[in-house]
């Protein structure tokens, strides 16, 4: 009797609890749908081939966003070149070369996880203080007899700052993949007399290609969306020519959105362009995320078949 009473009483609460938690899911899905719908509806009107391939005109109220797209692509390419080799090496260290109990392993792990939590604006400060002022300043002193060449905001410093920011992404994704490769593969190679180096290069890494690719893609997607780290390290509102040297300043999609939406003299005239720029930026990051997801599923499928 008592039991039934508790049960009937709790059933109302139970329905409510279930309903509330289900509603929370629904609300989240609805918000995301609303965001995507809003941007797509307002953004697609202005999205033409010419918009993607021409430079801005008339104080950003006409023309396209080609320089911003070009700058973004170049920026993330430079970033990838810097971050992927280092990230993969650190992942190899974490999964292949370290004892789980060794203090150096724990220290590296701590460094990686805390790097992932550093606010993006702090990376901006670090990029300015370390890359631009310290490294760039010293490069100028040593190679350019003190004339201002690399000691100023430039695409190479912005790319390196983003590389530091995305390093944890590459490390963690690659490490996950390395750990999912069966130990037997390594043991078979070592038993045949291969050294550890040979085993890693010829057996482990070829099996981890898709994981490394995923890490790289996720890093690019993250890097393409970050604005705070490049505010002071190289992005510019308008540059008349495309960046063609390592020390050029550059235009970038996210930065373009920020400046245009906060500092535009004529908001009504720029709004359609702004929406389309947001749509391009969002499309780019989503496409990259989707690609990463596909590569990951493919990899899981293959590993399952092999294992």
């Amino acid at each position: 009797m008592a039991v039934r009473m508790i049960n009937t009483k709790s059933d109302y609460a139970g329905t409510l609890f279930r309903l509330l938690s289900g509603l929370a899911c629904l609300v989240i899905v609805a918000i995301v749908a609303l965001i995507l719908a809003n941007i797509t509806i307002h953004g697609k009107g202005h999205l033409t081939w010419a918009f993607l391939t021409t430079a801005p005109e008339q104080g950003m109220t006409e023309g396209g966003i080609f320089p911003a797209i070009y700058g973004t692509v170049l920026l993330v390419l430079l970033m990838t070149v810097a971050v992927v080799p280092v990230g993969v090496m650190v992942a190899i260290y974490l999964s292949e070369y370290s004892e789980l109990s060794s203090p150096f392993y724990k220290l590296t792990r701590l460094a990686v996880s805390n790097l992932a939590g550093v606010p993006s604006i702090v990376f901006g400060l670090f990029g300015l203080g370390f890359f631009v002022k310290f490294v760039g300043g010293n490069v100028d002193r040593l190679f350019f007899s003190g004339s201002l060449t690399f000691g100023q905001p430039a695409i190479v410093w912005a790319a390196l700052t983003l590389a530091v920011l995305t390093l944890p992404v590459v490390i963690l994704t690659t490490e996950d993949t390395l750990r999912s490769i069966p130990v037997e593969l390594r043991e078979a190679s070592l038993a045949l007399g291969a050294t550890k180096f040979q085993t890693i290069v010829r057996v482990v890494l070829p099996n981890a290609v898709s994981g490394i690719l995923t890490g790289g893609i996720l890093a690019v997607s993250r890097g393409a969306g970050e604005v705070a780290p490049i505010l002071f390290t190289g992005a510019a509102y308008f540059v008349p020519e495309l960046p063609h040297k390592l020390n050029s300043q550059f235009m970038e999609l996210g930065y373009h959105v920020y400046v245009l939406s906060t500092q535009s003299p004529d908001v009504d005239a720029t709004q359609p362009i702004l929406y389309s720029t947001v749509l391009v930026l969002l499309g780019l990051t989503f496409l990259l995320n989707l690609l990463a997801m596909l590569v990951r599923t493919q990899m899981r499928f293959r590993l399952r078949r092999n294992g």
């Binding site: 609460a13 279930r18 899911c25 550890k196 040979q198």
Partner: protein
């Protein structure tokens, strides 16, 4: 097969052996070099995080050491209430670094960060945790397959895009509904920020909930307890450390987030507890002012001090979050 034991030719075999060992040492050398290169990269990762601390510290240090900087931005200027304003309307805390008498009170900035962050948590935490409970406990398989990619999508939206939407769309809606005095205010920024931290709270909570062993649920269900009651009184308490970790990590993410608050908060550094006033956060202050500051001026060093404080705060929060989420993992594995 004719196995023959040939007479040992000393010279020949030694040559063979030495060749072999030379090859071996080449491979070993490569092996060793590779191991060193790998370690070097691991060291570099540790060095980077140290360098971040060192460089922020180095540029912030003059606030404590340089007499010139301290003349303008002394300890009491930074932290203690001042006699700005008039007798009738005293302004004890003012951040106004570019004026005849530069004012460097940090209180309005930290209050601003706190206000926006708390609003974000208040919005995101219930939504994310409830959704995580639903996904982990009640949702049918197909729904789980739907909600996870949606959360990933949300996590993939660049913060500048959320900031843009808050600035153009959300602010207008909110003003129509609540008739705020200022279009851009703490509520507007906090709501957008809530969307930015929702994925991390959801992901970490969901992980904590799913790591609770099946046996807990089965034991509870076997006693005749309903599924929702099991979720409420057994699974949730067991996963509490993980959910707490999710909140801590969400808080850390929110307080460091820059672009959203820079675009959607109105950026007025006023010391006010009202949620409908414009606010300026620590992160937005750095982003907005570092671009125009004179290199090496007191203002420049104070901005780095702000960055250093922000870094120390998020670092501590991350350590705390990690500690708690490790704790739940250990607890569940031990069970």
């Amino acid at each position: 097969m004719n196995l023959q034991i040939e007479p040992v030719n000393d010279g020949d075999s030694r040559e063979h052996l030495s060749l072999n060992s030379r090859q071996l040492s080449g491979a070993r050398l490569r092996d060793l070099l590779f191991a060193r290169a790998i370690q070097l990269n691991a060291v570099a990762t540790i060095a980077v995080i140290l360098l971040i601390f060192v460089y922020l510290g180095k540029e912030a240090l003059p606030v404590f050491t340089s007499a010139e900087v301290r003349k303008e931005a002394s300890w009491s200027n930074l932290f203690a209430p001042q006699r700005y304003g008039t007798e009738e309307a005293p302004l004890p805390f003012v951040w106004q670094p570019v004026s005849d008498v530069p004012k460097y009170s940090l209180a309005p900035l930290f209050l601003g960060s706190l206000k926006v962050t708390l609003i974000a948590l208040l919005i995101a935490a219930p939504l994310a945790i409830l959704a995580a409970v639903y996904t982990a406990e009640f949702a049918p398989g197909w729904l789980r397959e739907l909600i996870k990619p949606v959360i990933e999508l949300l996590a993939g939206i660049p913060s500048v895009v959320l900031g843009f939407l808050a600035l153009i769309v959300l602010a207008t809606w909110l003003q129509e509904i609540f008739q705020f005095d200022y279009r851009l205010n703490a509520v507007n920024a906090g709501l957008a920020l809530g969307l930015a931290i929702l994925p991390i709270i959801y992901t970490v909570s969901e992980e904590a909930l799913s790591s609770v062993p099946r046996s807990y649920r089965e034991a509870s269900l076997a006693l005749g307890v309903t599924p929702w009651r099991t979720a409420w009184s057994v699974v949730l308490p067991a996963a509490f450390p993980g959910i707490f970790a999710a909140l801590v990590l969400g808080f850390g993410r929110a307080i460091g987030e820059t672009m959203i608050v820079l675009m959607a908060s109105g950026n007025a550094a006023v010391f006010s507890w009202s949620l409908s006033d414009s606010v300026r956060t620590v992160s937005a202050t750095i982003a907005a002012e570092l671009g125009e500051v004179v290199f090496g001026s007191p203002h420049y060093h104070v901005l780095f001090l702000l960055g250093g404080l922000l870094l120390a705060l998020t670092f501590a929060l991350n350590l705390l979050g990690e500690y708690w989420s490790k704790r739940i993992r250990r607890k569940m594995q031990g069970a």
